[in-house]
Amino acid sequence: MAAGSTIDALGQFELHPVLGQIGEALRFSQSPLFMLIAIVAVLAFLYLGMRPAAVVPGRLQAAAELGYDFIHNMATETIGKEGAAFFPFVFAIFFFILAGNYLGLIPYCFTFTSHIAVTASLAILVFLVSILASFKYQGVKFFTHFMPEGAPVFLAPLLIPIEILSFLSRPVSLSIRLFANMMAGHVLLEVFAGFTLMLAGLGAFGSVLAVAPVVINVALTALELLVGVLQAYVFAILTCIYLREAVAH
């Protein structure tokens, strides 16, 4: 790694086969491995948290209930009365992304949300679900949304392309936001860690200075904890907003 004067900030995002020969044969890299770990972690969190089923919850149960309540309120308040039908979808998306973001902060773990292939797949899934929901709840009337109500007809050739582009930009902005935030955070962490190694190579004085990037990295890790939950929240709330527009009218 960055033993000398270079910092290989993007090397951490490379995919390698894991689990020996089986992984080699299946092309099974860290990314799906950590997705599985994330799913197991979320399921374990909910199962172990809710197993006591106490009236006065313990810490883990309170956390599980808060998580459930938080997403349930978000889904029902944002989407409306049909929100309960989409609650499992929003819940799964939120906790999958949250687990992915937080797993990546553990040393030696891989952040699968830092790959645009993953975030784009999630965003396209949300996009397709919202389109299908639009057709189910509105039918062909869905297409009338591309012409703003009350706008003069002669502006239609300008307004309709703008509306269509605005609609098509949804999955793009969803995926870019999540992937860029996660990747930028991890590149920053790696760059400052690289500074530490470079300063430590300068002798005794450098070793003292090398403490500074470590301090910054501690602060950055705290920031990443905030960004991780915030990005999961933004992804989930935007999913809710798109679904609300799909089920409205």
């Binding site: 009236v55 006065v56 309170a62 808060l66 938080f70 300008l158 392309p161 703008i162 509306e163 582009l165 605005s166 098509l168 930009s169 949804r170 793009v172 902005s173 870019i176 936001r177 860029a180 935030n181 939950v229 915030l230 990005q231 929240y233 933004v234 709330i237 935007l238 907003i241």
Partner: protein
């Protein structure tokens, strides 16, 4: 409130004053614990309001850029398809920029922060 119900039931049951006092103290301790929890949940709600404002701030930039990217990619693709090199690229980057502005306007309009 489960603890309050417990309290009413135990007072109506007419148990000895000593036992009642002990139960009252217990219930109060439990209520304090509960209200303490309620307090943290309200601060968490305020926190989540802050989160959504922060989240909105992070949304705006990508909303604007994403529509522009879609416009440029669409325009470039149409140009490749039709062989009209700069025409659709120019048209759709303008429309994409407009759509980006529309995205930002919609995000901010509904936010009401």
């Amino acid at each position: 409130m489960g603890a309050q119900d417990d309290l009413n039931v135990s007072s109506q049951a007419g148990e000895s004053a000593d036992s009642f006092d002990r139960r009252l103290a217990d219930a109060e301790a439990r209520m304090r614990g509960k209200s303490g929890k309620a307090d943290t949940s309200t601060t968490e709600q305020e926190g989540s309001a802050d989160y959504s404002a922060f989240g909105l701030a992070m949304r705006i930039g990508t909303e604007m850029v994403a529509a522009l990217i879609v416009g440029v990619v669409l325009g470039y693709g149409l140009d490749r398809l039709c062989g009209t090199k700069p025409l659709f690229l120019i048209l759709f980057s303008l429309v994409g920029g407009a759509a980006g502005m529309l995205n930002v306007w919609r995000a901010v309009k509904n936010a009401n922060v």
